[in-house]
């Protein structure tokens, strides 16, 4: 099969990807959007079209953001970009060839599996920061956003008693959504330090430029308080207990040790950029100390250090759906300029109003980022038997011992004890691994580095590999 060529290939159809598609199509570019999820909207607006059409009362409950996003999805669907969903990118070559596979079986012969681009925009969003605690591999312990995905994509909600643990705006949001859906929350273990609000206060004036976020946040807190959910503060440790399934959650708070029964434990420690593709492509990354993650180094238009590769949205820096959408527009304008479809002055002119809005939308970030600053104690587990690499079952103690053996980088540790060698290809352990090595050597993760990412960034069968064009 011939390899189809595009001006721009966008990976991801969340707010950033959809916005970029709309704007780049507006400049007459030939655009392809690839997404591994079955529907457009990203994780934040997952399954939004179906929700609006078939579950309208629930859709309305999700708030104004959703009705706005629904408009964006409609514009995206009508913009004339080719859109292929349910397709996973497993390799991008320097010549800007993107290789994909279909997720669902029996689809391979229906469309080409390689595409060539003049420019590539990576808009794959963020992922939850892994929160390794003892017992977190037990069935019944899940990432907090997993229940949100289940609710929105499948109309499935938790049954029985639910414990939430961690910190961050998403934890509060999901807690309130669960209450709305009639789910019983038996405890909320707030791991945020008690002085966090005090620390964040200096950033409050700036955050007041977008009061709607603060109002929303206050509303969620109020709802939690009035619903009678027991909120525990000063959490020092959390352990998931059970044999075949989670049964109990044991935690130590400022009030001592407690154990609560639980059918589901939802963990959340903020979100971090999904850097698998930018790492694969060898883009330069930097350590963002305040949020303790790596992000690709970008210029003001979203260009990475690798020619032809740009980034928009949360996979550049976690900033939320509005900022992501705006950064998608900006990256698309720059792409149009680079391909000669738009003059530099026109690009700047069109970008200036977007930038003004962008600045406003970013105003609350310093407040939120300080309020929910990631705590090292929840990233580097104290208990040495805590699993770090869930795939290859490597714990904290083994990693520390290997560092003491002289393995001072993630790749060396990986080569010795297989952490990061499993199916998830390091997505679930790479950050923790770097943090533990840094902790053991008493240096910054910035100086430790990150696991080397190579293709395939998602598994592909040998048959699919040899038949790729």
């Amino acid at each position: 099969m011939q390899v189809p060529e595009y001006d721009l290939i966008i990976i991801g159809s969340g707010p950033a990807g959809m916005a970029a598609a709309v704007t780049s199509r507006g400049q007459g570019l030939k655009v392809l959007v690839l997404d591994e999820q079955p529907t457009a909207g990203g994780q934040i607006y997952r399954n939004i079209e179906h929700l609006e059409l078939h579950r309208n009362p629930e859709f309305k409950k999700l708030g104004r953001d959703y009705s706005e996003a629904s408009g964006l999805v409609k514009r995206f669907k009508n913009c004339g970009a080719d859109y292929l969903s349910g397709m996973t990118v497993w390799q991008i070559e320097k010549e800007l060839v993107v290789r994909v596979v279909h997720n669902s079986p029996g689809q391979d012969k229906k469309s080409p599996l390689s595409f060539k681009a003049k420019k590539i925009l990576i808009a794959v969003g963020a992922m939850e920061r892994p929160m390794p605690i003892p017992g977190w591999t037990l069935p019944g312990v899940m990432a907090c956003t997993a229940v949100d995905v289940l609710y929105k994509s499948a109309g499935i909600v938790p049954k029985g008693t639910v414990v939430l643990a961690g910190a961050g705006p998403l934890l509060l949001l999901i807690a309130t959504r669960l209450l709305d859906a009639g789910v019983k929350i038996s405890a909320l273990l707030n791991t945020n330090p008690q002085n966090a609000l005090l620390k964040a206060l200096p950033h409050l004036p700036s955050a007041l430029r977008t009061p709607e976020y603060l109002v929303k946040g206050a509303g969620m807190l109020l709802k939690l308080r009035t619903s009678g959910v027991p909120i525990h503060f000063g959490i020092r440790s959390i352990e998931a207990q059970g044999k075949e399934n989670l049964n109990r959650v044991r935690f130590v708070s400022s009030k001592g040790t407690q154990t609560v029964d639980a059918d589901l434990l939802l963990l959340h420690q903020g979100v971090v950029p999904n850097v698998q593709i930018t790492r694969l492509l060898g883009c330069e990354h930097q350590w963002y100390e305040s949020q303790r993650y790596w992000e690709p180094v970008l210029d003001e238009w979203g260009n990475t250090s690798v020619p032809g590769i740009a980034v928009a949205g949360d996979c550049g820096r976690v900033s939320g759906s509005k900022v992501s959408e705006l950064s998608g527009h900006i990256a698309a304008l720059e792409t149009a300029r680079a391909l000669g479809a738009l003059s530099e002055s026109k690009r700047d002119e069109q970008a200036s109003s977007i930038r003004a809005e962008l600045k406003k939308q970013q105003a609350s970030r310093p407040f939120l980022d300080t309020l929910f600053e990631p705590q090292k104690s929840w990233i580097v587990p104290e208990d040495e038997a805590t699993m770090v690499c869930r795939c290859e079952e490597v714990d904290v103690g083994e990693i520390r011992n290997t560092v003491r053996l002289g393995a001072h980088s993630p790749d060396r540790v990986k080569a010795m004890i297989r952490s990061g060698m499993g199916f998830c290809q390091g997505r679930m352990c790479a950050l923790t691994l770097s943090e533990i090595i840094a902790d053991e050597l008493k240096i910054s993760p910035a100086d430790v580095g990150y696991l080397r990412v190579r293709s395939p960034i998602k598994p592909v069968t040998l048959g699919q590999l040899v038949s790729s064009e």
Partner: protein, 100 residues
Amino acid sequence: MFKKLPQNGEKVSIDFEGKRLETVTGQTVAAALLGSGEMLFRESAVTGQPRSVYCMMGVCFECLLEIDGKPNQQSCMILVQEGMKIRRQQRPIMENHASA
């Protein structure tokens, strides 16, 4: 554990470990199983621990299942199809398992 809210969509039935489960089109295999009350998805590859869905968005690879005879399929990314035969992912059989 999970429960289903009223479902929209065309009815689909799938086979999980010999049991017939009813679900609807547009759902992922992982969601269909969880919605039917199934929690145990697989044995971990190294020591055979029980494992289940963790992230639901294609990151963690905990939801691996054997689907229509193919092992280690990422069930949160695969949509249900009528008649799909699904089994828990077992740990591969190695002669030297005790020492693995």
